[in-house]
Amino acid sequence: MAYLYLIDGTVFEGESFGYAADAMGEVVFNTGMTGYQELLTDPSYAGQIVTMTYPLIGNYGINSFDDESDGPKVRGFVVRDYCEYPSNWRSEETLDKYLKDHKIAGIQGIDTRALTKKLRSIGTMNGIICQNYPTPEQIKAVQNYRIENPVEQVTASKSYEIIGGAKRVAVIDYGLKRNIVDSLVKCGLTVRVFPASVTAETVLDYNPDGIMLTNGPGDPKDNVFEIAQLKKLIGKKPIFGICLGHQLLALAKGGNTVKMPYGHRGSNQPVKDLESGRIYITSQNHGYCVDADSLKGVGRLSHVNWNDRTCEGMEYDDGRTFSVQFHPEASPGPKDTSFLFEKFAKML
């Protein structure tokens, strides 16, 4: 028996799987039906306990090809029905073993739909997975829990380069998913990844043809240093931001970001390109969004979420800076917007 406790007092009973330890985090849900390995290793989930709305998880096991970073980044994983015996030609081990090896707590057998409805109606909440009924101390700790400096925890420890082609891109790693780098290399670009702590000067010293701002975890406003560096970089080179990169760019441009009630996490989010009128199905993972109105005069809203009309993309007036909230690199999720990397490559 294990428990998932939410700060509104809700308790779900389930069974422990993965690493049998207590784990605290912000509880969020993801509606993707596939892609749990990519999702577990997506650094944007740092500090969070993720629940999947699809009930059968672990079906195709874990392999050494589908990681988006060097290991799982979630604090905990909540599923309805864990699959002990995976089947897929690529499968190397079970999800259970993988979580155990990486000391990630999991809980299964709970009514994840009830949990999702709760998060949807009340909003994202802190919670704890615990092996015994939570103690008053634990409950207090959960209430006070805040994801502190998550970017620092997931960014690269030092810079590194992947040789692709003649043109060079500086990637500022706020918690990048590997497929961002792979997508750039696939476009024939050489990529130099810098830790989030990099200064604008170091980036410019590299003399890149363009700058890529990656996804990453947490409240964008916490990243004061990073925003200050961006202010110095904007306008100097073509810039492409994704997810947290998109939010930091907006803040650096003097705009505002707001916390969403329960965010967008899944592989089925419709986004409208306001210029072409086309809708693309996108992969998303964010709990904050940019307030497009706050950027009037400096940029134009380029993409909106067709479900709730929130900002999904900005194009700035210099014509060389653009960003999207969704994940064109997919992994997991649809690859319908991977052309944005080509668009960026052409700007260089």
């Binding site: 009930p55 739909r113 999702t116 409208k272």
Partner: protein, 1067 residues
């Protein structure tokens, strides 16, 4: 782009009669389309020959034509109604082919009519094998190595080069008709020949067999702006090699990584973008199990069986959205009806598992070949929704109504390990149970996977179920502690199976379970995995924590649906269920439906106030009742499926509205019913109730041969046979008793005469008879397989007597609601052969032609209203000015080795209607609509000795009408004596004359009355099969021939028939 304002009058083509490969899903699609277009203010003109459908109800479209679906008829309707556009992609392959033919002939251009949605060029690109391959090559989507064969030689050359096995797929056919897998040259030659014949364009695709790869489907949509989305993906439990219509299918896919899921998703979207599809489309892939290699198997540029399934599996109304796209809307302009807030431009996500299980006709066609391959054999399907795979599968299995309440099978459990190893290589309808028996016997998952190529993921899950089953069998009630009990209920185990294993009653298990507080929790199907608040009242049961469904507090009534489409219980009962829901809503109640058929209108979540997608078993139904606490339950419109549940519903303390359980039982109970008839002075053929072979023989001797033998409580004359000898009695009784019978077997005197049929509404006091129908074929042919005409040819006293008996029986059986009665007329005497206090197959047909909304009235009677206040009077309703002739349609070509001759056991899968001012023209229309070849040519006549005299005048008529007659020596001699010239041909077992004539097409029609008795029919049987498989019409009853002649004498081509809209029939 918003709605195209230039579209004002739209012609919608339906899919015609139900056949294997084309079932109720197109009634569902067409009905959605009609509703969508009507709500957009468009004038809709609907054409469909199938009277059992909801789409052909007068209110569904501005103009409804129950007319033959031939190009000539459609041209006349277009000339008359002057539509500006045609919506061709919602009427299945039939609708699509017709629209293409009209377009290709240049008629549409001439008439200024355009095709909405996908263009003819796009349709051709996906349907024509050569163009399709070329297009796929252009966009870099891999196809399987293949060649287009226009003759057998091409096929053999390809196979010689690429190696066997190969798959033969005829172009433009339904459900893979005429296709198959060939392992060697001999079988390739045979299959290819039939395939070429089956194809409209005489073209087959011969492809390298990738049997064993995963079969994955994607349902995708595209609008004119180029927006593309996936509605649902599905994985077949049965890998490539078994037709997807005959496969167990799961949604979403279970064994695909995101990388694989997205690769195929992107491919599907690439394909519809390249084909410029506007609307829905289905793409089937084969995916290697050991690499990222995949191949496109097939693309259907229209809504299909899979899209009906995908709609129900996700809650996304594909047909409605496709119709709106066709009139100009883009996906981002169409509101998602489930959330009411978001738009149709998103991809549904599931937070449950859906299982589709095919329903095959082998319980009725016991002698047919049950093996499964590329040719579809299922008549229908069930769908179930569960919180996990196990629950979804077990719910689906018990929804089939084949007495499976678990995966345990006595038949396979009896087999030895060796026998099971051998049996595992057989791909047939019982494979799942065979696999489970193998697991039970300890055959390993690896070994089974090796033999069957079924993915281990499924096998491991099955093994888990089997182990739990065995534990319960072993430990019985002792293992049912709260934890274990909850666990097995979560996995979908039925109370009934648990009870059987524990050796106690189901009610005891239920009480134990409820005592432990283990109750179902219902979850909502909301398209979005709970991300948004949804308003769809669409539920399924789980044993999870939170229950989302609750009684609303309004006065409610539950309607039990009719389950999967099968022979004897088709779409007509869904028509009745939907009409009943409408009437309940109109009366101010909340209407709640329980059903499990994904192809139907009744399971569209916005038809009723609440939809429970659940198995129709006592446990699952009573669970819903316990939650909803309705004022009553309606069982009389859901066919035998719902009737069978009446007792359980009543025992659970819920009120059956209308005719009571006691009355239903009394009508089925031989003794009670005989008593009633005696009291009312009504005749019936003498009969006996028996259980054993010996009793049956005694009964037959006492009554005198011939006798009718049949089980009681069955559908469509299931297991019913006419016996002429003791041998036959023994044979039939053995077949019937293969399955344990809860109810006795009936042995009746067989009376040859004219059959009449009546459907009536009774309020307990008065009776309303919309009309009297007359069967063309004499007694001994199942009513569902007879041509039936309305009004009957009888007048005066006979009619008075029929009315009188109907009233007596309706009141005598205490019917409240609908009653169906079948009569035999012999001389002056009227015998009763069947009384069913419920809706029947003919209710939709007779409602449409008389204009009396029978189900609506019957529902109001059930709710306590009186006929005298309903405005249609009582007694026999006035005759219509039109004749309506129902003609049955068979899928005999789809089931090899099936005996096709008409008998008391029903074989037809669907029906069509001909409506005209004269009876001859009505028959003619019906025959055209049924697809019988009406062009003049050769007729081969071979009749039994006792029918020869009767056949002579008909042969003369046919000869005079310009047919060339062929006959075997005996028949030819008889014809010659009467001065009729017939070419003599050798018997089938002596030479290949007949075979040659059938295959060369010189014979268009065969008249062959079988000699009675099973052992003597060899030659005839082979001729009939040969003909059916070559597309030659066979008549096995001279009464049918007589109707055919009557129709021919009208002397009209289909282009000369006057279309009649239902709106024009004066009632």
């Amino acid at each position: 782009m918003p709605k195209d304002k230039s579209i004002k009058r739209v012609l919608i083509i339906g899919s015609g009669p139900i056949a294997i490969g084309q079932a109720a899903e197109f009634d569902y699609a067409g009905t959605q389309a009609c509703r969508a277009l009507k709500s957009e203010g468009i004038y809709t003109i609907l054409v469909n020959s199938n009277p059992a459908t909801i789409m052909t109800d007068k209110e569904m479209a501005s103009r409804v034509y129950l007319e033959p679906l031939t190009p000539e008829v459609l041209k006349n309707i277009i000339r008359k109604e002057k539509p500006d556009s045609i919506l061709p992609t919602l009427g299945g392959q039939t609708g699509l082919n017709l629209a293409c033919e009209l377009a290709e002939s240049g008629f549409l251009e001439e008439a200024g009519v355009r095709l909405l949605g996908t263009t003819v060029e796009s349709i051709k690109k996906s349907e024509d094998r050569e163009l399709f391959k070329q297009t796929m090559e252009e966009i870099g989507e891999p196809c399987i190595d293949s060649v287009i064969a226009h003759n057998v030689e091409d096929a053999v050359n390809f196979a010689d080069e690429k190696g066997y096995p190969v798959i033969v797929r005829p172009a433009y056919t339904l459900g893979g008709t005429g296709g198959g897998i060939a392992d060697d040259e001999t079988s390739l030659k045979t299959i290819c020949k039939t395939g070429l014949q089956a194809s409209r364009v005489h073209q087959c695709l011969i492809e390298k067999c990738v049997s064993g790869w995963k079969e994955i489907e994607y349902e995708v949509m595209r609008d004119q702006n180029g927006n593309v989305i996936t509605i649902c993906n599905m994985e077949n439990l049965d890998p490539v090699g078994i037709h997807t219509g005959d496969s167990i299918v799961l949604a979403p896919s279970q064994t695909l990584r995101d990388e694989e899921y997205q690769m195929l998703r992107s491919a599907a979207l690439n394909i519809i973008s390249a084909l410029k599809i506007c609307g829905g489309c289905n793409v089937q892939f084969a995916l290697d199990t050991k690499s990222m290699k995949y191949a496109v198997i097939e693309v259907n540029p229209r809504v299909s069986r899979s899209s009906a399934l995908a709609s129900k599996a996700t809650g996304y109304p594909i047909a409605k959205v496709a119709a709106l796209i066709a009139i100009g809307y883009n996906l981002d302009e169409i509101v998602n009806g489930v959330t009411g807030k978001t738009y149709a431009c998103f991809e549904p996500t599931l937070d449950y598992v859906v299982c589709k299980f095919p329903r095959w006709p082998f319980d009725k066609f016991t002698e047919a070949n049950r093996t499964l391959g590329t040719r579809m054999k299922a008549t229908g399907e069930v769908m179930s929704i569960g919180a996990n795979f196990e629950a979804a599968l077990l719910k689906a299995v018990r929804s089939l109504e084949l007495n499976h309440y678990s995966l345990d099978s006595a038949k396979f459990n009896k087999m030895t390990k060796d026998k099971l190893y051998a049996q595992l290589t057989v791909k047939d309808d019982e494979r799942l149970f065979c696999v489970c028996a193998a697991l039970r016997k300890g055959i390993s998952v690896d070994a089974i996977s090796e033999i069957t190529t079924i993915d281990k993921w499924f096998l491991v899950k099955l093994k888990g179920i089997v182990e739990l089953e065995e534990k319960i069998k072993r430990e019985k009630k002792a293992c049912l502690n709260k934890e274990f009990f909850r666990k097995i209920k979560r996995k979908g185990f039925s109370d009934r199976a648990i009870a059987d294993w524990c050796g106690v009653s189901e009610s005891e298990i239920r009480a134990l379970r409820e005592g432990m507080g283990i109750l179902p929790a219902y979850k909502m199907v909301d398209t979005c995995g709970a991300e948004f608040e949804a308003v769809s009242p669409y539920y399924y049961s789980t044993y999870e924590q939170e229950n989302e469904a609750a009684a609303t507090g309004k006065r409610s009534i539950v309607v039990l649906g009719s389950g999967p489409i099968r022979i004897g219980q088709g779409v007509e009962f869904d028509y009745c269920s939907v009409q009943c829901i409408k009437a309940i809503k109109a009366a101010g109640y909340e209407a709640i439906i329980v059903n499990n058929n994904p192809e139907t209108v009744s399971t569209d979540f916005d038809v009723s106030d609440k939809l429970y997608f659940e198995p129709l078993t006592p446990e699952d139904v009573v669970n819903v009742l316990e939650l909803e606490k309705p004022e009553g339950v309606v069982v009389q419109f859901g066919g035998q499926t719902a009737i069978k549940l009446a007792k359980s519903v009543s025992d659970a303390g819920y009120k059956i509205l209308g005719t009571t359980v006691e009355s239903i039982n009394d009508a089925e109970d031989r003794e009670e019913f005989d008593k009633l008839l005696e009291k009312l002075h009504i005749l019936r053929p003498k009969g006996k109730t028996v259980y054993t072979r010996e009793q049956a023989l005694d009964a037959a001797h006492e009554l005198g041969y011939p006798v009718l033998v049949r089980p009681s409580y069955v559908l469509g004359g299931q297991g019913m046979e006419i016996a002429y000898t003791d041998t036959e009695i023994r044979e039939y009784m053995d077949i019937i008793n293969v399955n344990i019978q809860d109810h006795p077997v009936l042995v009746d005197q067989y009376i040859a005469g004219k059959e009449l049929e009546v459907d009536a509404v009774c309020d307990g006091k008065d009776v309303l008879i919309p009309g009297i129908m007359e069967h063309i074929e004499r007694t001994g042919v199942h009513s569902g397989d007879s041509i039936s005409r309305y009004p009957s040819s009888f007048l005066g006293k006979t009619v008075d007597n029929i009315i009188d008996i109907t009233k007596k029986l309706a009141l005598g059986t205490k019917t409240v609601g609908l009653i169906n009665i079948q009569f035999i007329l012999k001389g002056e005497d009227i015998y009763i052969i069947e009384v069913n206090p419920r809706s029947s197959r003919t209710v939709p047909y007779i409602s449409k032609v008389t204009g009396i909304p029978m189900v609506g009235l019957a529902t109001r009677c059930c709710l306590g209203e009186k006929l005298e206040n309903m405005g249609y009077g009582t007694g026999l309703y006035k005759k219509s000015d039109y004749y309506a002739v129902k003609v049955p349609v068979f899928s005999n070509d789809k089931i090899p080795e099936l005996e096709i001759s008409l008998s008391p056991e029903m074989k037809s899968t669907g029906e069509v209607l001909g409506i005209a001012p004269t009876v001859g023209e009505a028959i003619l229309k019906g025959l055209y609509a049924s697809g019988i070849n009406m062009s003049k040519g050769g007729i081969f006549i071979s009749v039994s000795n006792k029918s020869k005299q009767e056949a002579l005048p008909l042969a003369k008529d046919l000869f005079d009408l310009g047919y060339k007659l062929y006959a075997t020596s005996g028949t030819a001699a008889a014809l010659r004596e009467s001065g009729i010239v017939a070419e003599e041909v050798g018997k089938l077992h002596e030479c290949d004359d007949i075979e040659r004539m059938i295959k060369s097409g010189s014979v268009k029609l065969i008249v062959n009355t079988p000699t009675k008795g099973r052992n003597t029919r060899r030659d005839g049987f082979r001729i009939r099969r040969l003909a059916v498989e070559s597309g030659v019409t066979v008549f096995t009853s001279l009464d049918t021939v007589s109707a055919f002649v009557e129709a021919l004498k009208v002397g009209k081509k289909d282009s000369e028939l006057t279309p009649v809209a239902l709106q024009d029939i004066g009632y």
